[in-house]
Symmetry: C2
Subunit: 231 residues, 2 copies
């Protein structure tokens, strides 16, 4: 039995607790980051709090191994005097949607092999995709995640707006969105590219630009140019 | 039995012929757009050629109903003197990947109800998602498709590049990409948005921008600003 303490109240903390509760070999406790007067002891303490709170909260923890779940902060952001590590799940968590942890990549880091293996055992109770990722790599992954998740989602928002403005259901675009996201498992995204930019189809590009509001036109122009430049 | 003639040699023509061949109620023939000396007769003639070739090729066809498959061209781009229509499949077709036509939205347009119903019957032999979409709506959908498909795919390319540069496998991002594309079936993309831009997390944004090459930095800045602006 591995004792795990989760500190936090957000989506990550909530989903993680739920998953560990159904794992036989984990004894999980969860506390709010606002109730740090008496922190329960645990073999692994997971700080699932906002990035800005990591330093302050960790400095109050005496438990043997303390890890954070942040994609952008290095392991050294932890200020506990005991062992440090990172337990970063590269997935988007929302309150409204269940998480399938078997599809979540766990990016783990620790100061020594023993701690790493403990984190790996913990991750393996709920997940299957486990990667050793150092702080520099994790930071890069976090930036990449912003592009493929937040920015992509913004492009979906634009797609939705255009549909609404023209009285066509956004669901017409769902299969294309799905296919685009699945194609890259078979082809590299560079090879998978299609459309007016890669074809240098200036007439279609001009045609598209004419109908767009200013903010959307800027994005259209910039990404079209980037596709043409090949980077 | 409905006779269908496909004119074209590209991915759309190839995938479409294959699908019709397995439909019991369709007699399909396919010819190259370079062999127009003797065009076989057919109830529906589908011009699956590049946009620029639509006018010239259609002007040579005497068959009763001629449709094109272009997202960006209007029905009037056809120059046959018989009936016109559009048979636009809003999906990305590549040589290397099979198409599941049951997931493809068919956007149909015709000059009269009889022709529309014939196109619908043809589409229904291979598909299930069928929409009446006029030329203005189709043009808007085509622009939206560029955002959610080509531009999204470019963001995947950037994600891939960042991974390669940092020696982490791109597959770590696949589940996030998948989840992002599926979330919007449950939540609107606007509501689904997460990340540093929507949180106004200036420290993370600054941190991310510092490590990016110029072209990627421009895209990061512009989309971050658009997310902050809420459009």
């Amino acid at each position: 039995m591995i004792s795990v303490l989760i500190i936090g109240n957000g989506n990550v903390a909530t989903h993680l607790e739920k998953a560990f509760l159904s794992a036989n070999t984990i004894a999980v406790t969860k506390i709010s980051s606002r109730k740090l007067e008496s922190i329960p002891n645990a073999m692994v303490t997971i700080l699932a709090v906002s990035d800005d709170a990591i330093a302050t909260i960790s400095s109050n923890i005496k438990n043997s191994l303390v890890v954070h779940t942040s994609g952008s902060f290095s392991m050294e952001a932890l200020k506990n005097s005991t062992h440090k590590g990172v337990f970063y799940m590269l997935q988007t968590f929302s309150k409204e949607k269940e998480i399938d942890f078997s599809a979540v990549p766990f990016c783990l880091e620790a100061e020594n092999d023993e701690d790493y293996l403990l984190l790996e055992r913990v991750a393996r109770t709920i997940g299957v995709k486990i990667y050793a990722v150092n702080s520099k790599q994790r930071k890069a992954l976090h930036v990449a995640a912003v592009f493929v998740n937040n920015f992509t989602n913004h492009l979906y928002t634009i797609g939705n707006d255009i549909c609404e403005k023209n009285q066509v259901p956004f669901e017409i675009l769902h299969p294309l969105i799905q296919e685009t996201s699945e194609k890259i498992k078979i082809l590299s995204p560079k090879k998978a590219q299609t459309g007016p930019a890669i074809r240098n189809d200036e007439r279609t590009i001009k045609n598209h630009l004419e109908g767009l509001p200013k903010d959307q036109r800027k994005i259209y122009k910039l990404i079209t140019q980037a596709i043409k430049n090949g980077n």
